[in-house]
Point group: C2
Chain length 362, copies 2
């Protein structure tokens, strides 16, 4: 039986190396990418598909695109979204034509909000938040799924390219609403190539790989359109503060939202699973188990930009010189600064939203 990853569920992925093997992913090699960002340098970005094609486009300055989507039903962002945005930013800064779509159709279907409400939330919160996290709005093409007839036409057309059993093999299930959502997403992924045929890259959490497999299968069966199969680049999950592999809203204590009020953030960090030992004496003698420490992971993945600074924290903690209380305090201080900045930048970005380049459809 073929294994499946469920991009909609909260299934845990226990072994990234195994994932690479089971799903035929490539290992990410930062050597292919000039000026790798924090996530690339620190093995948070760990695999992908057809990465060489994008690496070539960057190095030879050939046209390519990066695409990502906003799910506007969510009330807030989380650190997984932050990673996606940072990846989009990386490619945007390396000459990718940048598309960000608002999945208002999917939000309306899965969350029961109206399209208008979904669009309003995207404009009032999500798009400003993306800008606050580094997206350059002047170099980004935005669109609403529900207004992009080409995307809906592609979805309808692609339905002919896949059987129910193939769909089930990829997703583990095949409800009509899942079929609509997945094929519309395939339409989104390939839509930029209707304007200009070129390679494209989709940065996502590895749990989204099924959408890429579906889209790549569709491309291989759409000989007449001659789409480039989309490349993808995968990051690991932001680990849950309680030590689970993925932050999850269904377990709120495990997860810091963006934004979230500071008292609540402080409480969560202070309760987080660390690499500390049972007693202070033992901690000083043996040093922390840094690899198990969720607080260090947060610092590494999100809060410390400078490699040398991170290295110093690592060694002080590893050697037992820094205690778990101290690393939590450090983490909270950095988080406080980051969140305050984020909220301030959202406010600023909100004022620019009406000036953005939304695609107009005839």
């Amino acid at each position: 039986m073929q294994k499946t990853i469920d991009p909609w569920g909260s299934g845990l992925v226990e072994d990234y190396v195994k994932l690479i093997k089971d799903f035929g992913l490539e290992e990410f090699d930062k050597a292919g990418f000039p000026d790798p960002n924090r996530l690339m340098r620190r093995h948070v970005v760990f695999s992908g598909r057809d990465l060489g094609l994008i690496s070539m486009c960057i190095k030879e300055k050939k046209p390519y695109y990066v695409l990502s989507g906003i799910m506007p039903s969510a009330e807030r962002l989380h650190f997984g979204n932050k990673m996606v945005i940072e990846q989009v930013k990386y490619f945007q800064e390396h000459n990718a034509k940048t598309y960000v779509l608002v999945a208002d159709l999917e939000a309306a279907s899965t969350r029961g909000i109206t399209l208008e409400e979904a669009q309003k939330r995207a404009k009032e919160f999500h798009i400003p938040a993306w800008i606050a996290l580094g997206l350059n709005p002047k170099k980004t093409i935005f669109y609403f799924q529900s207004q992009n007839k080409d995307v809906m036409h592609l979805a309808y057309k692609f339905a002919k390219k896949i059987t129910l059993n193939e769909f089930r093999a990829i997703y583990g299930q095949a409800d009509p609403s899942r079929i609509f959502a997945a094929l519309t997403q395939a339409g989104d992924i390939l839509y930029p190539q209707l304007e200009e045929r070129m390679p494209g890259i989709i940065p996502v959490g590895v749990d989204q790989d099924p959408h890429l497999r579906l889209t790549r299968d569709i491309v291989s069966r759409s000989k007449s359109e001659k789409f480039f199969a989309p490349s993808s680049i995968y990051h690991k999950f932001t680990p849950s503060l309680n030590g689970a592999i993925k932050m999850s809203k269904s377990s709120p204590d495990s997860c810091i939202e963006l934004p979230e009020d500071l008292a609540s953030v402080k409480k969560k960090i202070m309760r987080a699973f660390t690499g500390g030992r049972a007693t202070l004496e033992e901690h000083r003698r043996l040093g922390a188990e840094v690899e198990k420490c969720m607080v260090f992971e947060l610092l590494k993945q999100h809060l410390v930009e400078d490699d040398k600074e991170l290295d110093k924290i690592y060694h002080e903690y590893k050697s037992g010189k820094m205690t778990s209380g101290e690393i939590k305090q450090l983490c909270y201080e950095k988080m406080e600064k980051f969140l305050n900045n984020f909220v301030k930048n959202i406010e600023k970005a909100r004022k620019e939203v009406d000036k953005l380049r939304f695609v107009k459809f005839g």
Copy 2:
């Protein structure tokens, strides 16, 4: 196991009475409908769903709509289309707001033609042909499926209202492309109610009942939108000239197309299955088996408007006074006149197409 009718296939329906019973249809009672048309008077229209609601709208002059669709991939029409158009015409003349959509998305998906080609064919042939067969274009709202975002949004939304197993129970299968086509069709059927909530009627061949069952199920699960469940009105198939229950393009000799060249039509009628006896002597003595005669069926369903004239033919043939050769000749003469008229009227209608009221979508 639940029975299914396959609206895409050519499965034969052997017993209309059984159909009514198995699928819980209503028997059509012409008493509810003022000035019943030829198809209604002659039991060609035989059943439907929620007919009383429409009958009431007609009698009390309440708003309601009639909707039908054009499949523009077809090169020509056939007599089944002609019946649908005559039914649409009946309701149009009885105050129904009239919608005719061009299923360009479905045509592109199932026939592999482009949307542009589908739209071109609709404008150059199908819409003029519908007008030639009696549709009043000035009182009709036309739209292309691919340009109607509301319809595509409804389809996406409706996907949430039906499970894969329910879909399979209705259609006997559940390929992704079928799911898209069926849910888009449900979107078409209910779209007029986004503009004005009111009852609506869909005249179709009984093989299309699954689409109505699907749409009615969706309505019953969409409490918040408060759609009226669509009514439907079903006609029998135009029988095949070789005696099969349904004219079918896969058996070209059984089927007269609209238009078709007269030499070919003549050949087909002359070869048709009649109610004639083995010898002329026997025919004169026993009379024709009118109920088995496909030529009489054509006259009854399509070519003789006047009930008295049809009655006369019936009795002359039944009594053996009219031979099978004679009824074939009569049928051909009427067909020739009808086809010549049809071609002439298409030419005339073609000139009006650019003036029609196509819905513009923002």
